[in-house]
């Protein structure tokens, strides 16, 4: 479970995130949407404890990411926008290193390694050097490193970017399988991805949440694309909290 409350992040005079609040329940996949530059990556970096917020709180399974940082960070598996690979390490050595770093005990590293190699379809690639892998395999190794310590919370920043259609299909399937009883937050700007695998969608634009809704509760007959375009178009004259209006308007336009 991730609870984000009134998150604000400013870089000098530039305010990138202007008071974002949302909640991601365990056992569900939350799609985090927004146009480029909306503050998605910044928000994810704050959630994962890479950088602090200017104000606001993030609770990971009830633990504050700022005040109880080590314990909270131990619960998170994070795939940044660019898979954080050491390009001169072999896949196996890299994953072992990450496992140890994330607190997997020595005796359990082998099992954890076998498991993620299997799950991410990397068994044949274990001996390859990370820097020589194709984009798709890098992404999978990135996913493997996020999963290796079996975290209850997964934060994935554009997990399918740069993959070919078959790989996108596989990774989506994988994320869906992984969800189980985990909390998954994934950012993307591929809308069909959200409709396919997410349970809930949070749309942000220009640092605000403009829509937060369960997919099942979107009005019948509306496509996510309409909802998205409508939500971000309203940004500027409407603040967050207008989600229902947005949905009503979109719904009305369709019926």
């Amino acid at each position: 479970m991730i609870e984000v409350k009134n998150l604000v992040k400013s870089y000098g005079n530039f305010v990138a995130v202007k008071g974002i609040s949302f909640k991601a329940e365990s056992g569900s996949i939350l799609g985090f949407l927004g146009p480029n530059g909306a503050g998605k990556t910044t928000t994810m970096r704050i959630i994962t404890g890479f950088m602090p917020a200017t104000s606001g709180t993030v609770l990971i399974d009830g633990l504050d990411i700022f005040s109880n940082s080590l314990a909270a960070r131990a619960k998170i598996g994070y795939l940044p926008e660019n898979p954080p690979l050491y390009t001169d390490m072999r896949v196996e050595a890299y994953l072992r290193f990450v496992a140890r770093l994330r607190g997997v005990s020595k005796s359990k590293v082998d099992a954890a390694l076998d498991h993620v190699l299997n799950v991410c379809g990397l068994t044949d690639m274990a001996g390859r050097i990370c820097g020589q892998l194709s984009k798709g395999y890098r992404q999978r190794v990135g996913l493997a490193q996020a999963l290796i310590h079996d975290p209850p919370v997964l934060v994935l920043d554009e997990p399918t970017i740069g993959l070919d259609p078959r790989q996108i299909h596989e990774i989506r399937g994988l994320i869906h399988e992984l969800a189980g009883n985990r909390t998954v937050v994934l950012s993307t700007h591929i809308l069909p991805e959200v409709s396919q695998i997410c349970d809930k969608v949070v749309i942000i634009a220009d640092g605000h949440v403009v829509l937060q809704e369960y997919l099942a509760q979107l009005p019948a007959g509306t496509s996510l694309e309409d909802v998205f375009l409508h939500a971000i178009a309203k940004e500027g004259h409407a603040e967050s909290g207008s989600a229902e209006e947005t949905l009503e308007e979109v719904g009305a336009g369709h019926t």
Binding site: P52, L70, I76, P84, M89, A93, F97, V98, R100, L101
Partner: protein, 257 residues
């Protein structure tokens, strides 16, 4: 501590899959061999000359320690001023550039442990390199009778010096994501510590003393001449502590910016 060792192990292995480490070691040992050969040759010439002149006082003062090992260690120290930045420049700068920094800082690891891990790895690398340069005194012991204690003190001094350099290198690397900037600024600081006592005579007595106290070669020179003084050990320990503390603050700074 466990995390620091994990990081140190990964870093150390990383040095040896990179050609840089081998190039640095080769350059260090080749130059060392060149200096050693020259000093030894010069020693032999002097020995023959004074023997022919039958000058027993000078002959008595001529010894392997002061004629070969001392200048060799001083030269190697200067070589380290140039080579250490090449080893440490990657440590943080590369992680920032490739994005693995995000992996390190979001893992449940303290920043102090990250710094300690990288420091241990670089220090061990230096110890290996200086250990390999131990071949030179070994040759002297096999074919002559130098004073082993003095040579040991000198090598301990060189090891301490290299570890001090490493801590400065980590600090400059933690400030930037550009390896060249990291290397050049490290080189600048090390060179400054090397020449800082030059204006000491013109600087008045107190200021001069301060500059002399800050000067690396003054403390290193003591150890090379066989004197292991706590004042010099404290000097090295202080520089290492200050540099590592600043490194930790620089890494931590992403958390308060």
């Amino acid at each position: 501590m466990k995390n620091a060792i994990t990081i140190a192990g990964k870093e150390l292995a990383g040095y040896f899959v990179q050609p840089v480490a081998y190039v640095v070691m080769s350059v260090f040992l080749l130059l060392g061999g060149f200096f050693f050969f020259n000093m030894l040759r010069y020693f032999e010439v002097m020995l023959n000359a004074y023997t022919a002149m039958q000058n027993p006082q000078v002959l008595a003062r001529l010894n392997l320690n002061s004629a070969v090992i001392e200048p060799l260690l001083h030269n190697l120290a200067i070589v380290l001023v140039i080579l250490v930045p090449a080893i440490t420049m990657r440590s943080f700068a590369e992680e920032k550039r490739t994005g693995t920094y995000e992996l390190l800082l979001t893992a449940p690891v303290r920043t102090g442990e990250i710094v300690a891990g990288k420091f241990i790895a670089a220090a061990v690398f230096m110890l290996i390199m200086i250990g390999l340069a131990g071949i030179f005194p070994l040759i002297l012991v096999m074919f002559g009778n130098p004073e082993v204690g003095v040579m040991m003190a000198g090598y301990i001094g060189l090891a301490l010096l290299s570890i001090t350099f490493v801590s400065v290198g980590l600090f400059t690397s933690s400030l930037t994501q550009n390896q060249i900037i990291a290397a050049i600024s490290c080189f600048g600081i090390l060179l400054l510590l090397y020449v800082i006592s030059w204006p000491a005579q013109a600087g008045g007595s107190q200021f001069g003393d301060l500059l002399r106290y800050l000067s690396l070669p003054d403390h290193f020179g003591q150890m090379v001449s066989g004197i292991v003084d706590t004042r010099d050990l404290i000097y090295f320990a202080s520089v290492i502590t200050v540099a590592l503390f600043l490194t930790q603050r620089a890494v931590e700074s992403v958390r308060w910016r």
